[in-house]
């Protein structure tokens, strides 16, 4: 089942990648002088894929391009409004607002909203887009893991690894149920006709807690806590249409 899901995701990703080539070259100009940019606001839909190893604090920064077979991974769906200015403004080319659903089978978590500013650079066949922003929401529980170790003398040790909650989702549950963190994004964009195709990578910089517990047979408890900022990458592919 999982293999088939990955297959579909991969096919979709490859399809999105191939569309720009079929659609012709990057259309930056709209009836104006050569240095005028193509403005517009797009509605985009896409998929994203994130994966990593949580138990090794450095593993997310040493991301393996091999998409399959890691401990934590999920496919996300996303919806995005992206607006391109007609001229660069304060060195910026536009902004975007995104809703992303991590882990499509669970309704109660993995709802992430983000806003970002970006700058794109025309390289003729496509544009390279670099952006940064802030993401906020209820993170996926796929980031939570606990590793146990049982000693022969009855001592149990375990490490709980989880994304630190540092924000509130108003009108919902507890006061510390959300996260907010910055991210950067690099992508390749093609905007032929009224369409938009984009593939790229978004890397969030999130703080993870690593809580170590040791419980001996008499229930004596030892704890050691530490935290580390970890880079969490997502690959994504979007298709959009120009609204206005």
């Amino acid at each position: 089942m999982r293999t088939r899901r990955y297959f579909h995701s991969t096919v979709t990703l490859l399809f999105c990648l191939s569309l720009p080539a079929l659609g012709g070259t990057q259309e930056l100009l709209v009836g104006g002088p050569d240095d005028e940019r193509k403005s517009g606001t797009y509605l985009q839909a896409g998929i994203a894929h994130g994966q990593g190893e949580l138990f090794s604090p450095n593993s997310l920064t040493q991301w393996d391009v091999a998409l399959f077979g890691t401990d934590y991974d999920f496919v996300s769906g996303k919806l995005e409004f992206e607006s391109y200015f007609s001229d660069t403004f304060l060195q910026l080319s536009g902004f975007s607002v995104v809703y992303r659903k991590d882990g499509l089978r669970r309704a109660e978590w993995g709802h992430m909203f983000s806003g970002s500013l970006f700058r794109d650079f025309d390289v003729k066949l496509f544009a390279v887009k670099v952006g940064a922003g802030v993401e906020w929401g209820l993170p996926s529980l796929n980031f939570d893991q606990t590793e146990f170790a049982f000693a022969d003398d009855g001592i149990v040790r375990y490490r709980h690894t989880y994304m630190r909650r540092n924000a509130d989702i108003p009108f919902l549950g507890t006061a510390t149920d959300g996260v907010v963190y910055p991210f950067v994004e690099v992508s390749i964009v093609q905007r032929p006709w009224f369409l938009l195709f984009e593939i790229g990578i978004r890397v969030g910089s999130t703080r993870f807690n690593f809580d170590d517990f040791e419980v001996d047979p008499t229930d004596q408890l030892s704890q050691e806590f530490h935290h580390q900022r970890i880079l969490v990458p997502y690959l994504f592919a979007d298709v959009g249409i120009r609204l206005f």
């Binding site: 669970r106 309704a107 109660e108 978590w109 209820l138 993170p139 529980l141 939570d144 893991q145 606990t146 146990f148 049982f150 149990v156 375990y158 709980h160 989880y162 994304m163 630190r164 909650r165 919902l172 549950g173 507890t174 006061a175 510390t176 149920d177 959300g178 807690n209 809580d211 517990f213 419980v215 229930d219 004596q220 408890l221 704890q223 806590f225």
Partner: protein
């Protein structure tokens, strides 16, 4: 990996809640449920040998037989039992269960919490059940008490809990580890109630002597606990005291799919409720001769 199975309490409440005493536990030979080696392997790997039992139910013989059968199969290390006011330490079913040598978690039932001298009652319970080291103070106190009788708010509960905690630390130091009441197992009420308990004084108790308990039937809401466990209650251990499903056809996949998720949330022990356990493929698998 077998040692990993030791950690998650999995409830016999779930295994036995709707058992009736007129049914008998008959041996079940391995059948097609064991033919799926992959599923069976996954379930056995994820199984947690801790279960919950309603001693006040009507299926005491079945409970006793189930415990003995699971124990003989090496699939049971601990049992959660409810210590109702009418339960005698010489109760034959209780004695049969405790006599197997399993680790016991005693639930001091909600009815005790209305006694004016709860400290005296704690003294009595500690004396009557010397073999029990872990005591849970009430269960779902704001949700399962009948509206026709006395009820408790979470503020009233925390006042009582802190009285018991202070009494145990002063009069019985080192005698027992207390578990909080388990919050309700689905929706937002459980997490928000635990948050209220933290604000009402839970954070002042020593985590060496208190374990937080929750019931967890709907893991979609489990994420609401993570902020608390990583914040105000970070120093505490957490036990899931009930989990599971009544649907027999989902017992196996519940263990395979949901227990790992409970463990990943650092929810260490989970008792719960599997009715008609002797018909459950899960019970069949656990007690099959291998």
């Amino acid at each position: 990996m077998s040692s990993a199975r030791l950690l998650v309490w999995v409830p016999l409440i779930l295994l036995v809640s709707s058992c009736s005493s007129d049914r008998t536990l008959s041996p079940i030979s391995p059948s097609d449920v064991l033919s799926d080696a992959s599923l069976a392997g996954d379930v056995l790997e994820q199984w947690s040998p801790y279960v919950g039992i309603h001693l006040t139910g009507e299926a005491l013989d079945a409970y006793r037989d189930a415990v003995l059968t699971l124990r003989a199969a090496g699939q049971l290390d601990g049992v959660r039992v409810e210590l109702g006011r009418s339960l005698s330490p010489s109760d034959p079913t209780y004695r049969a269960i405790s006599g197997t040598g399993v680790e016991l978690l005693g639930v001091i039932s909600n009815e005790h919490l209305f006694l004016p001298n709860i400290e005296q009652e704690i003294d009595r319970i500690f004396w009557a059940f010397p073999e029990i080291r872990h005591f849970q103070i009430g269960n779902e106190v704001t949700t399962i008490l009948p509206s026709t009788g006395p009820t408790l708010t979470i503020e009233q509960y925390m006042t009582i809990f802190l009285r018991i905690y202070d009494h145990v630390q002063s009069r019985h130091p080192g005698r027992a580890i207390l578990l909080t009441q388990s919050t309700v197992g689905s929706g937002f009420q459980g997490p928000t109630e635990l948050e209220a308990m933290a604000n009402l004084g839970l954070t002042r108790v020593d985590p060496n002597h208190v374990i937080i308990a929750i019931n967890m039937y709907d893991l979609d809401y489990a994420g609401q606990f993570v902020g608390l466990l990583g914040g105000q209650l970070r120093r505490f251990r957490l036990w899931v005291t009930e989990s599971g499903t009544r649907d027999q056809s989902r017992h196996m996949t519940w263990v395979r799919d949901e227990y790992p998720r409970l463990r990943n949330l650092s929810l260490i022990k989970t008792p719960s409720l599997f009715p008609d356990y002797w018909k459950s493929p899960l019970f069949e698998l656990l007690t099959a001769t291998r």
